[in-house]
Symmetry: C2
Subunit: 371 residues, 2 copies
């Protein structure tokens, strides 16, 4: 049953939900699945018509309805994460002049500069303007377009402004109900998605998840993780207990002609988790050269621990084959393989799909030599 | 140094190579890399002009030279393994009428009937004739074309006939030199590619390789395995000992619009290795439906052990995404993961690349329910 009435609070001792209508509903178990909230910006004008965030289905419908009802020629995107990249492509595909306004220098912080530069170049090569080092002061009305984004790097007219500034777990309801939160600000759960309170579970972006490589509970609000957590909570409540075995941090997106994917942890995260990381990047063809001498290059970065040789993370960017490699390496991370194993992993070689030595092998062997 | 003179034999006691010229060359170490031989057919006429095997680069050059010099309209391929499939596509791409003549009913025995039927249908949909249950009696000369393949299912005219009947390890030289062979007929080696004789190594299709899932030494003549073995032998001889950690049986090919890939062992192999196998097949989209509702279906079969839940093997066939899944599952097999882990594996989800639940997850969970 989906409640259309806003929930005012939950009484965890009695497993009751208090609706804003005053009604109280009693259950045997509760699952808190309050998701995440889009980060806003503390400047004047973010409440103007034509200014959107894109967090949930309702947001997406609102954006599409606005575009359908309003002739829009110019879009400004605030922020440069993967949602910003995807939306830049989609605004461009509608024929709109699209400007990304970013506080930093490079997009998609998850990826290292060698790769985020390639993503930036792809986006600008497709006609998107990428403004860097810009601090927003206000969103104002404008003459030519409907809106103007005022920054210290200039003022940008826009018919629509999308604030793609990331999200944070929405644990307000849980916090007010006395459910314990983790240091990430998301709800603390165990491997069966139980919270600190009996018969109260949590699943999705509002709660933490165990990272098998970092060896700590993290907030990683991604849809596939939320799906898995929901299944574990539901099955456990339903009498078939499941254990959520955690994540390795696999993630991907596509923007224009590029695949970008990453898994595990980067060097900074590795150092923070007590590892002594080393890394290498290799560039090559995602398929055997004989199949397609013109195929664009795929870049693959591996991070491993100097002391044990254990694989810690990977990033890949290219026109094809990035996600495939990262998924294979995610399975390696899952089992804690070291790079000696990764360098000799048995992969399904055929020239349309890789060289006899795949980039995965080359990267692992090159990294081994430098550790 | 590559010897152009035929090798007559090797004296392993003295590490000497005897050339057919009578010369003897002495080395500190020898690596036997005699490869494999194409299987022939014991019928009259296989030595006629226009009849080829395709085992090595020289064979490929001979086929291409013949096609360049001779107007060819009809090609007959004997056999229906993956080389036969690849060559059917290539003959067709040259505009030749192409007929596959197969002793059995379905192509590519490595794949189960659910998948090999799809491969057969793809090949015939592209205009290739697929003749089954045919026993070849002879290759004769013919009036219209140059050759005629005479079988109990009819006579087939051809300008070129390719015998694609599989290969067997070429361990003749090693056997004559007293090097121990395995029960597969290939050279027995250890994890550093050493043979039974001191200072004599072997690498490639002529020797066995350890199968990590079957837990036995097998003959699996594939190019990527040969490359790895060569590197292990060379590095070990050069003073940097390496260990070849074995294979899980990953393999793939492309034919027309299909990817076919497999890894691990099938149910018959599993039963032979002492497992109690169960299996399931799922069909779905390789990408999120919202991205491409028309995308052709990908089939994925998983085999696992009923007693332990351990993943034992996988097969996949589809227009895209088959190799990617099989590589990920190969990494799972490498580490001996069970299907509970596979069902919750952390993969790099984004709609252009998979659903939030990938086919891998769905197959593993479905298999778990049936074990």
């Amino acid at each position: 049953m989906r409640l259309q009435t806003p929930v005012d609070g939950i009484d965890t001792a009695s497993c009751e939900v208090r609706l804003s209508s005053g009604e109280r509903l009693s259950y045997d178990n509760l699952v808190v699945a309050t998701g995440a909230r889009a980060n806003g910006l503390d400047v004047p004008g973010t409440d103007r018509e034509g200014v959107f965030v894109l967090r949930n289905l309702e947001d997406a419908i609102a954006v599409k309805s606005y575009l359908a009802a309003t002739p829009c020629r110019k879009a400004v995107i605030l922020g440069a994460g993967f949602i910003a990249m995807e939306m830049a492509e989609n605004f461009s595909a509608r024929g709109m002049e699209t400007i990304i306004v970013h506080r930093g220098e490079l997009p998609v912080a998850r990826w290292d500069p060698e790769f985020s530069k390639i993503i930036r170049d792809e986006v600008t090569a497709r006609g998107v303007t990428f403004v860097t080092g810009a601090v927003t002061a206000a969103i104002e009305g404008a003459a030519a377009s409907r809106l103007a984004l005022v920054t210290d790097r200039g003022t940008f007219d826009a018919d629509i402004i999308l604030m793609a500034l990331g999200i944070r777990p929405d644990a307000t309801l849980a916090g007010e109900a006395g459910i314990e939160l983790g240091k990430t600000g998301a709800i603390r759960v165990d491997y069966a998605q139980r919270t600190s309170l009996e018969n109260v579970y949590a699943a999705g972006d509002c709660c933490e998840v165990y990272h098998r490589v970092a060896h700590e509970w993290v907030s990683m609000p991604l849809g596939d993780i939320a799906n898995k957590q929901g299944r574990v909570a539901g099955s456990t409540i339903g009498g078939k207990p499941l254990t959520f075995p955690g994540i390795v941090g696999a993630q991907s997106f596509r923007v224009f002609g590029l695949e970008a994917a990453a898994t595990g942890i980067d060097e900074e995260g590795a150092a923070g988790s007590g590892y002594d990381p080393g890394s290498t990047i290799v560039w090559g063809s995602p398929v055997a050269r004989v199949m397609n001498p013109e195929s664009r290059r795929l870049g693959l970065k591996l991070v491993a621990d100097r002391k044990t040789g254990k694989l810690l993370g990977a990033q890949a960017v290219g026109s094809e084959g990035a996600v495939s490699r990262i998924n294979t390496l995610s399975a390696c991370l899952w089992s804690g393989l070291d790079i000696d194993d990764v360098g000799y992993l048995d992969l399904a070689y055929a020239p349309p799909f890789s060289g006899a030595w795949d980039l995965i092998h080359m990267a692992a062997q090159q990294l081994r030599r430098t550790l």
